[in-house]
């Protein structure tokens, strides 16, 4: 793990939004590293800030939001002199990064394509801007990329419009446009939420293939833990604008430590027992308009300690790659048993080897 090169490093990032005259604290002091060539999954419920966090990497924060403090260091241009993405303001400043270094695949392929332009034109636009290809050269390249993303008959498809494509094929086109910029980091924001299960599996497979072929670093944003198990080397669990647990996929799935991760995993119907109630998390996420005291999840955590309501927990390291923000890991904390499901999962994988992520 130590010899892995960091490509993007987020340091104590705070993002705020102004809404109806009130200030919403969407990202509350996040620090994380992204390693070159890995695939990181960011998991969380809607409103946990997972999209907001990654939008900062590409400069697409909504107009009413701003970075209050913190740095986002990008090492992809020059490893010795990282660029602080948090300082970039205008579109001109962003142009070198956006697309060429960090590209994004949006959730809904129905709305992220221009219905009035052909597929070829839309891919060509990216090629013109980022690789300075025009005319026949651009056309050839676009057709190459189309067949790369698994679209049959790329010559014929090149001159078709988005409405002539099915949902899955449209998502392939969106990926093709992102790939046309030849990016280093590909951010996939819920890439398969709008798709059918069988198509979802195919698209995930495609992204994995492209990642291998072009040595991409990928970030998946999703709320579906099944998808995460399929694609991620490392997982970051977000709750109320903070990363509460981060570790290798195996560590987070087989040896989760934060009560919120326990709750998320236990409430999956895949792990439920028929005829019995599913584990469900009480209440709703906290309101980020108000300052949060202590652990944000404490109010919904039936096993919360007193200190959870008073002080925000620091990260406790479980292994070199696995850490969680919960007081339960403090040596002074009482021993709290995780729910039944989690214990069952743990028993399957008793001999966990920490500190090594696949991929």
């Amino acid at each position: 793990m130590e010899n892995k090169e960091i490509i993007l490093s987020v340091r104590d990032l705070n993002v705020k939004f102004s809404l109806r005259g009130k200030v919403l604290h969407a990202i509350r002091g996040i620090g994380m590293d992204l390693y070159k060539g890995e695939s990181l999954a960011i998991v969380g419920e809607s409103g946990s800030g997972k999209s907001v966090l990654t939008k900062n990497f590409i400069g697409l924060l909504d107009n009413n939001g701003w970075i209050d403090s913190g740095e986002i260091l990008y090492y992809g241009m020059d490893p010795q002199h990282p660029v602080d993405l948090a300082k970039l303001k205008t579109d001109e400043e962003w142009r070198d990064i956006r697309g060429k270094h960090v590209a994004m695949v949006m959730q809904d392929p129905m709305t992220s394509l221009n219905p009035l332009k052909t597929i070829g034109w839309q891919i060509g636009e990216a090629l013109k801007l980022h690789q300075n290809l025009r005319g026949e050269a651009a056309r050839k390249k676009a057709i190459d990329i189309l067949s790369d993303v698994g679209i049959p008959e790329p010559e014929r498809r090149y001159s078709q419009y988005p409405h002539e494509f099915s949902g899955g094929m449209r998502q392939r086109v969106v990926i093709a446009i992102a790939m046309a910029c030849n990016p280093r980091i590909l951010v996939c924001d819920e890439p398969t939420t709008a798709l059918d299960v069988t198509i979802q599996a195919q698209i995930l497979h495609l992204i994995k293939e492209l990642k291998e072929k072009y040595a991409l670093t990928t970030i998946y944003i999703t709320h579906d833990l099944g998808v995460v198990a399929n694609v991620a080397d490392r997982i970051a669990v977000m709750y109320a604008g903070d990363i509460v647990e981060v570790g290798c996929a195996d560590e987070v799935f087989y040896d989760p430590r934060h009560p919120y991760t326990w709750a998320l995993l236990s409430s999956l119907p895949q792990l439920g027992i028929k005829g019995r109630d599913l584990y469900s998390i009480k209440g709703t996420p906290p309101n980020l308009f108000h300052p949060i005291r202590g652990d944000a999840f404490a109010a919904r955590n039936p096993q919360a300690l007193k200190i959870d309501f008073l002080h925000r927990p620091p990260y406790f390291e479980i292994s070199a790659t696995h850490k969680a923000r919960t007081w339960l890991l403090d040596p002074r904390a009482p021993k709290v048993d995780p729910p039944e499901h989690i214990k069952n999962i743990r028993n399957i994988r008793k001999n966990m080897t920490g500190g090594q992520c696949n991929g």
């Binding site: 579906d224 833990l225 198990a229 119907p269």
Partner: protein
């Protein structure tokens, strides 16, 4: 549920639903038949465009049926029916919709949204009684009765779905069609709504038709599952049987694509891809067969022989 004394609540016979006319005619549901027993949860699973929602809407008479019949407690309820029957069917079959953001009237307060059905069916009911029933329905789904005076936009997605459930409960239905009731909700809220649905089923002896695309949820909640593709049911079985011995290639493809929250099994998973051209149905048309007790599948002679061989293994 006792095996022998199962009472059929709803029968669908050879249902066909067509949209458009003449050259633009599109057959969304092609001759579908199934029975739903009293007190069970019957699942209808398929991908977008398979016609699963259309079947639900046709049962509740939103979409007219172009051929076939629907029987509810032995009485035909499609086509022209008497006013009294119409009223009783309206009351006893209710629907829960997918998107709680879109299915509630934004300009009405919660008390009106929940009471609307009562106002239509029992206009003579005194106001005080109605209000009492509204607050009862709200507390039954885990909402505070005070919420009655609020507007839908003041609620979160999970709470709105609860309002949608309260709205159908107040009619005291026997049969509820739940069309993707949890797809639009967050993971942690899904469990709450699923638990609520099964609690209500136990308490009131409700029968559900559960329409979804997500087989992992189906496995948890359904007693029997029908798999539908392009308007035709291809396989129908008890949930455990379907997961143990999926026979039709489409069912197998669907099952293989379920994402499991387990990195080990995901790494070794083999995807099955369904190719509809694999069927040679020109000379040997498919038939609907009960291949083992309570396990139905669609296939032609040759395919059925394969399926039997697989079951014998």
């Amino acid at each position: 549920m006792a095996e022998q004394a199962r009472e059929v609540l709803l029968q669908v016979r050879d249902m066909e639903v067509t949209f458009g006319k003449g050259r633009k005619k599109f057959v969304a549901v092609k001759g579908v038949s199934f029975d739903i027993f009293k007190g069970e949860t019957f699942g209808l699973v398929g991908e977008s465009g398979s016609g699963k929602t259309t079947i639900g809407r046709a049962i509740i008479r939103i979409n007219p049926i172009s051929r076939g019949e629907v029987f509810f407690k032995g009485q035909r309820i499609n086509g022209k029916i008497s006013r009294a029957l119409d009223k009783s069917v309206t009351q006893s079959i209710q629907m829960i919709f997918q998107d709680p953001m879109a299915s509630l009237n934004e300009r009405a307060k919660v008390d009106y949204i929940v009471a609307e059905g009562l106002i239509n069916v029992h206009p003579e009911m005194p106001r005080a009684k109605r209000e009492e029933q509204v607050s009862e329905a709200l507390s039954e789904v885990g909402l505070l009765p005070e919420f009655a005076s609020r507007f839908p936009h003041e609620f979160s997605g999970g709470q709105r779905q609860r309002i949608g459930i309260a709205r159908s409960l107040i009619m005291e239905p026997q049969f509820i069609i739940a069309d993707e009731p949890i797809s639009a909700l967050d993971v942690s809220i899904r469990a709450q709504v699923l638990n609520l649905l099964s609690k209500l089923q136990k308490e009131r002896g409700l029968t559900y038709l559960f329409i979804a695309h997500d087989l992992s949820v189906m496995r948890f909640i359904c007693d029997r599952i029908a798999v539908i593709r392009t308007g035709t049911i291809v396989e129908l079985a008890k949930t455990e049987k379907l997961f143990e011995h999926p026979l039709h290639p489409y069912t197998r493809a669907l099952l293989s694509a379920i994402p499991m929250p387990d990195p080990d099994s995901e790494r070794t998973k083999v995807l099955e891809i369904y190719d509809p051209t694999r069927h040679q149905y020109e000379n040997d048309p498919p038939v609907w067969v009960e291949i083992e007790p309570e396990h139905f599948v669609l296939g032609n002679e040759q395919e059925l022989a394969d399926y039997r061989a697989r079951l014998a293994k």
